[in-house]
């Protein structure tokens, strides 16, 4: 599918923006999902303007990121699921090779090597794996007899485990866990036998203490300890959590009003426009604002679930299901860490936090969902 094709299809949509879902399906787009995403992005811009200290600069850049994300989503939506399935191995292999490259040629700061630099352009290969792992797993398991046999579970686990291990070495534990989870969701949705889940639970009980002593870096342990007792280090790592809980709590039911949140406007809240943006929203729009945002997210998830249920192939179902659940995990981890019930692990609030990388990766996922949602039209 080339861009020329896309433009031609747009033209044939006829009645334009106000056309029916069916007409939008001709350009392989899911109108409800698109509208919900745009609503979220619009609300996000409002909050960002306040959170960045009324910075038009940030709002403009975020608009550019949304535009790029939209373009990526629209482009990916044009790719037929069969095509995705056929070439699913490529991003996985490519991503793993780049991850190995990062370990040797990576650049970064604060003791972590996360970026590759090619011709002055920096990117994080771990982002590729966020969609490459579910793709790979959905392809592998979608073609097997389900529920998967021991052999297939074994190989699936190998595919799941390799990228997170490489990412942990960078080290970036948060991303590694998110990648692993997205792969695990495919395995789970494919009907992973319950006894394996039991084994997984046991394994976790063995592995977690080992991780504490051998894998976690001091700063990571600190973050976990901080979560349990932020008062212990008020001015250091506890500062962020104390300030964000104050921001959320002082918002109360109604909030202090747009651009009137003292915690964020007077810079007590760190990272207020990126990872901690939910605290700004909670402070300025109160519990009402939080409920509206969560409601919007749930609507998006509901629409995604409908897409999952309507998918034509097992590959499509598994991929869509994994993307949907992973999307929720991002929301949960972010809102959990900002409100102090999860350790601080640098996960942005999906489509609201400022930052291009996360927006583009997420929109790419939604592009794949749209591609799956219109599989029927392609067949026709």
């Amino acid at each position: 599918m080339t861009q020329g094709d896309f433009v031609r299809h747009m033209g044939s949509a006829g009645s334009g923006f106000y056309g029916t879902s069916r007409q939008w399906h001709r350009v392989y787009l899911d109108l409800p999902l698109l509208l919900l995403l745009m609503l979220l992005a619009g609300a996000g811009l409002f909050v960002l303007y306040s959170a960045s200290g009324q910075s038009v600069h940030y709002v403009n850049r975020q608009l550019v990121y949304y535009a790029v994300g939209l373009f990526v989503m629209l482009t990916v939506a044009q790719i037929p699921p069969r095509f995705l399935e056929r070439w699913a191995v490529l991003p996985y292999l490519g991503g793993v090779i780049l991850l190995i490259g990062v370990l040797f040629f990576g650049v970064g700061a604060k003791g972590a090597q996360r970026w590759l630099e090619v011709g002055g352009f920096r990117f994080q290969p771990s982002e590729i794996l966020k969609f490459a792992v579910p793709l790979m797993l959905a392809r592998y398991l979608g073609q097997r007899v389900l529920p998967p046999s021991f052999k297939h579970v074994f190989f699936a686990l190998i595919f799941i485990i390799i990228p997170p291990i490489l990412v942990i070495l960078q080290p970036d534990l948060g991303t590694a866990i998110l990648i692993g989870i997205s792969g695990f969701f495919v395995l789970f949705l494919a009907g992973l036998p319950k006894r394996y889940l039991g084994f997984a639970g046991l394994a976790a009980m063995v592995v977690l203490p080992l991780m504490w002593f051998y894998i976690l870096h001091d700063y990571q342990k600190q973050r976990i300890l901080t979560m349990f007792n932020p008062e212990a280090d008020k001015l250091g790592s506890g500062w962020n959590i104390i300030q964000s809980t104050i921001a959320i709590g002082s918002g109360g039911m109604q909030g202090k009003g747009w651009m009137l949140g003292t915690q964020s406007q007077l810079d007590f809240l760190p990272e207020s426009h990126t990872d901690f943006i939910i605290a700004v929203l909670a402070e300025e729009f109160g519990l009402v604002g939080v409920l509206l945002l969560v409601g919007l997210y749930l609507l998006i998830i509901a629409r995604c679930v409908m897409i999952c249920l309507g998918a034509q192939s097992m590959f499509g179902r598994l991929l869509a299901g994994s993307i949907t659940l992973t999307f929720f995990v991002y929301i949960f981890v972010n809102m959990g860490m900002v409100s102090g019930i999860l350790p601080v692990v640098g996960v942005p609030l999906p489509l609201v936090s400022y930052g291009g990388t996360s927006i583009v990766t997420l929109m790419l996922g939604f592009g794949m969902l749209m591609s799956i949602s219109t599989e029927k039209q392609r067949a026709a």
């Binding site: 104050i246 003292t262 007590f268």
Partner: protein, 619 residues
């Protein structure tokens, strides 16, 4: 792969998927529940508490340092002032790279190693985030200009104005006023953190320390809205600080100047007391130092130099220097002899130049080789400072009488002056020797004590107090630097002696100065009033039996200390002085002229015979 496909059962597999997805959704719903419960808990249940925290964050109560009280001399001359000082502070959180920032500042306006060390030390102390830490105090105009021009590429640098102590008479009053200095780690433990919030310095020595409480004042507050960088966005309310109390001294800065002038290059101490009040008119310890250096933080090198100098400029000789008083005690013991009846006015001795205790070989020498001859009466013994006479009456009075009178005149006890550190000296007695040395008292000890040698030690302030008590005919007053509401208190006690005996001692001391044979006759030229005085010499090294003291061969530092006490005018005494010139050899040649200059100046500035601490005195 094809095998697998052949075995696939699409309906069955779809059902598995749907069940799993629904299970996943169930978990999602549960987790959303957890999140919403958490946000509900924060925003509704804990709302009140967190709103308070948010306000406390935003609204900062900032201390406003009170203005330190000023110090004036008796004529209203300002001795300790507050001047604005431009200080460079750094907000470490805003500096991109602290070390290179300080290097940059160093290259622009210079930062000493001492200042860097202090800065990093203070940076490590507990402080709230974005609290500025001072790096350089007291920038001059050029430095302020350089910083203003370069400010844009020096993030984290702040220049603030603060009042800082300054001493117009930095050297001449260094020991009296003392100085303020930056509060250090040790002091911070004991200070009231509320009173000192916002205050950078406290009194370290001298009056600044003794009257710290009065001078400090009451801290004020202002509530301000700040951002997390501590930058004040808005002032909300303010309680003004109450300035510290001003101090008015008895001291006259002109007399203080004369004291230092007349000491010249010598090491020593000069004290002048207003007899009617006990007020200290002048109080000089030489060599001295510049108190201003300590205010902004003296460099470690300069401090070491002051600390390790053999001349000990930081040492306050007036209150902490303990010297053998030598012959200056003779008027006291003379009075003791008269009062105890051991020697009346007709008692006379023959002085062969030495004294021997009964049944003892040892000769206690007179300072004058060959002695003062025959018919030495008490008045001659004072005028010519005859040692043999006092050996004789001293032994006859016994140490108990000497000790009793010495103590009444203030020897061996702190004078009670309003200064933080004072030494008590030693007035030996049987009890003292048993306690301090664990030895019995020997008659030979009495011999030495009777001319102010042996164990006896006194500070220049104690000698001035003793002189004042002689001059006032026994009025016991403690010396004071700071004037209070009640300038004229009755004396705390009185040394009982007959008028005749007081007159006799006064006359003898006047004759020390005003007769040809007097040891201080050198200062009587051109005097149009009467000075009563007594010279003294304090041995620095012991002289062995049959050994002559030869000033030429003894190194300057081992030479005797010269002492002189005096009061004037004799008919209506108003000023009492004591002088010590270290290694000045003879009281008559080096110490007495200092007293003459000082008393001359006093008589010139305060010619009327009314005591000067009276009601109509300007305050």
């Amino acid at each position: 792969m094809t095998d697998d496909r052949a075995l696939k059962n699409p309906q069955f597999e779809s059902r598995i998927f749907v069940l799993r997805l629904l299970f996943g959704l169930l978990v999602v719903v549960l987790m959303v529940g957890v999140l919403l419960w958490r946000y509900f808990h924060l925003q509704v249940v804990r709302y009140e508490g967190l709103v308070t925290l948010s306000d406390r964050n935003r609204v900062l109560v900032e201390p406003v340092a009170p203005t330190r009280g000023l110090i004036y001399d008796r004529n209203g001359v300002l001795l300790a002032d507050n001047r604005p000082s431009f200080n460079l502070s750094i907000v470490a959180e805003r500096a991109e790279d602290l070390d290179s920032l300080i290097e940059e500042i160093d290259s622009l306006i210079g930062v000493s190693d001492t200042e860097k060390t202090r800065f990093y030390k203070q940076l490590k102390r507990r402080r709230r985030p974005y609290e500025p830490v001072p790096l350089r105090l007291d920038l001059n105009e050029r430095e302020q200009g350089v910083l203003a021009v370069n400010e844009y590429h020096l993030p984290g640098v702040e220049v603030t104005v603060q009042l800082l102590r300054s001493y117009p008479f930095g050297r001449e009053l260094a020991h009296v006023l003392g100085y303020v200095g930056r509060i250090n780690d040790r002091e911070i433990q004991t200070l009231d953190p509320v009173r000192y919030s916002g205050t950078l310095v406290l009194g370290k020595t001298g009056l600044e320390r003794y009257y710290e409480d009065e001078l400090l004042g009451q801290v004020g507050y202002q509530t301000v809205e700040t951002n997390a960088r501590g930058r004040v966005m808005r002032h909300l309310e303010r309680t003004d600080p109450i300035a510290g109390k001003d101090l008015h001294l008895y001291l006259d800065s002109r007399l203080q100047h004369v004291a230092y002038e007349s000491l010249g290059e010598e090491r020593g101490a000069v004290v002048a007391i207003e007899i009617a009040t006990g007020g200290v008119l002048a109080m000089a310890s030489a060599p001295t130092f510049d108190a201003n250096e300590f205010v902004t933080g003296i460099s470690f090198d300069n401090y070491d130099a002051l600390l390790n100098s053999p001349d000990r400029p930081l040492f306050d000789r007036v209150l902490q220097g303990q010297y053998p008083p030598g012959s200056t005690v003779k008027p006291l013991y003379g009075l003791a002899a008269l009062e105890s009846g051991i020697a009346n006015k007709d008692y006379k001795i023959y002085d062969p130049g030495f004294y021997q205790l009964k049944n003892e070989e040892r000769k206690y020498r007179d300072w004058k080789k060959g002695g003062h001859g025959s018919k030495i009466y008490l008045r001659d013994a004072i005028i010519q400072s005859c040692d043999t006479f006092f050996y004789d009456v001293g032994v006859r009075m016994t140490i108990d009488t000497l000790s009793l009178y010495g103590s009444r005149f203030g020897l061996g006890q702190k004078t009670g002056i309003d200064m933080p550190i004072e030494r008590a000296g030693i007035m030996p007695s049987r009890a003292w020797k048993r306690g301090a040395r664990g030895l019995a008292w020997y008659p030979g000890d009495t011999v030495n004590t009777s001319i102010g040698q042996g164990f006896t030690l006194a500070t220049p302030m104690q000698l001035a107090v003793a002189t004042s008590r002689i001059a006032s005919r026994g009025e016991m007053r403690s010396p004071k630097l700071v004037r209070t509401e009640h300038a004229l208190l009755p004396p705390a006690g009185r040394i009982q002696a007959s008028d005749d005996n007081w007159n006799y001692i006064h006359q003898a001391m006047q004759d020390v100065v005003h007769t040809r044979r007097g040891t201080a006759q050198i200062i009587n030229r051109g005097l149009n009033y009467h000075i009563a005085g007594k010279t003294g010499t304090a041995q620095v090294i012991g002289i062995k039996q049959d050994e002559e003291y030869d000033a030429e061969t003894v190194a300057k530092r081992n030479r005797d200390h010269a002492l002189f006490i005096a009061f004037a005018p004799v008919e209506n005494p108003r000023i009492a002085v004591s002088i010590i010139v270290e290694n000045g050899e003879h009281g008559s040649s080096t110490a007495a002229p200092v007293a003459r200059k000082l008393i001359d100046a006093f008589m010139e500035y305060y010619p009327d015979s009314e005591f000067i601490g009276g009601e109509n005195d300007p305050r």
